[in-house]
């Protein structure tokens, strides 16, 4: 499959006019992509904890059922915690959208191929696990649909966005985890929550 979408442009579209959406990223590329789209107190970035992004999303989605929660993570990060598909589907959070920025490679460690370039279809796995909506984007038209699924369709949803392996300049968000946590809680729950 030709992966021609640009990851930075795709994430920028995903996060444009984000409203009151709550955003979580995985480590590495998706963390820099979200920062490049514009830092926001209601974006919590993982700089580590590989394999945990979707599960942070589940805990947050259950705690904030009235808010849309969107997890943006990479194929390698998501593959490390595939059991998330079962654990999320067992809970069926209607407000959770997961987006896989899928370049079919481990981008931070030398571009080694991941499973998704060798036939593993994450959208089909999610559908088989019982996710009510999934989407795969390979061009601009399918990207728009994948973004709508992530932001609006009754969840849990999984959108795979196939992107090129093109390198982009690093755009780093704050990296102090305690600061990111308190900033997020303060913006969501009010200043009292971090006293």
């Amino acid at each position: 499959m030709a992966n021609m979408l640009d990851r930075r442009a795709a994430v920028k579209s995903l996060l444009s006019n984000r409203g009151d959406m709550l955003v979580l990223t995985g480590l590495g590329g998706t963390c820099w992509d979200a920062a490049a789209a514009g830092d926001d107190p209601l974006t919590f970035y993982l700089w580590g904890a590989m394999g945990g992004a979707a599960m942070v999303g589940l805990g947050l989605a259950l705690a904030q059922p009235e808010r849309r929660v969107v997890v943006i993570t990479g194929d390698g990060e998501f593959l490390m915690g595939l059991g998330a598909l079962a654990t999320i589907s067992a809970e069926k959070p209607k407000n959770l959208g997961i987006v896989i920025i899928d370049n079919e490679h481990y981008g931070e460690t030398g571009m080694q191929p991941t499973h998704t370039g060798r036939g593993i279809d994450l959208a089909k796995l999610a559908a088989a696990a019982g996710f009510p909506a999934t989407a795969v984007a390979t061009d601009e038209a399918s990207l728009a649909k994948a973004i709508t699924v992530a932001r609006e369709a009754p969840g849990p949803t999984l959108s795979v966005i196939k992107v090129s392996v093109d390198k982009h300049p690093l755009v780093l968000p704050p990296r102090d985890g305690a600061y990111l946590k308190d900033r997020f809680r303060g913006a969501l729950l009010g200043a009292q929550s971090v006293l």
């Binding site: 709550l22 700089w47 945990g52 992004a53 599960m55 942070v56 705690a63 915690g81 059991g83 969501l188």
Partner: protein, 179 residues
């Protein structure tokens, strides 16, 4: 073969449940253990607590982080062998100073008959401590309520990562019964 557990004091799982409710715990994650059966069943029956069954204990760590970001308190219930599945993910709690409370039932230490349980059982507390999780061990059913209560205060109010370790001697010997 069917496994049952001889529980010397029936009341301590109810005491843990009461403490968790008093602490306003709203999400409970678990990979089951026989020693946690009664507590898990009480949490599942409680409409005010969301219970998440996990495929691996590791999932419970980021769920606790996400729930806290959204304003809710969680507890992770697991057995000692599951602690080994959580190790790198505990970096998330230490780095971000997320409150974390887990209640661990021990295997592999007291009158254990299954050698496969012994290595992780022997390493459970040291593994947690190496990752910044403080262990509070309980040997006597009478101490359960106070210890879990103190652990909950340390976790949710002082932003600490705390494991309450329920000793295998307290849980009772595992009996294997022919069906």
């Amino acid at each position: 073969m069917d496994a049952t557990v001889d529980t010397p004091t029936e009341n301590w799982p109810d005491a843990i449940y009461r403490v968790l409710k008093d602490a306003d715990v709203r999400q409970a994650c678990y990979v089951p253990d026989a020693g946690h059966t009664r507590l898990i069943n009480r949490l599942i029956a409680d409409p005010d607590v969301e219970t998440n069954v996990l495929t691996t204990e590791e999932e419970g760590i980021p769920i606790a982080a996400g729930a806290w970001l959204g304003g809710q308190r969680t507890v992770l219930l697991m057995q000692s062998s599951g602690v080994g599945n959580t190790i790198n993910m505990l970096s998330l709690m230490a780095t971000c100073r997320f409150p974390f409370l887990t209640i661990v039932t021990m295997r592999g230490e007291w009158a254990e008959f299954n050698p496969w349980q012994v290595p992780m059982g022997a390493a459970t507390e040291r593994s947690l401590e190496m990752m910044g999780v403080r262990c509070m061990r309980v040997e006597n059913p009478a101490d359960v309520e106070e210890t879990v209560s103190a652990a909950a205060a340390l976790a949710y109010e002082a932003d600490q990562q705390i494991a309450v370790i329920l000793s295998q001697r307290m849980l009772g010997r595992k009996k294997w019964v022919e069906k």
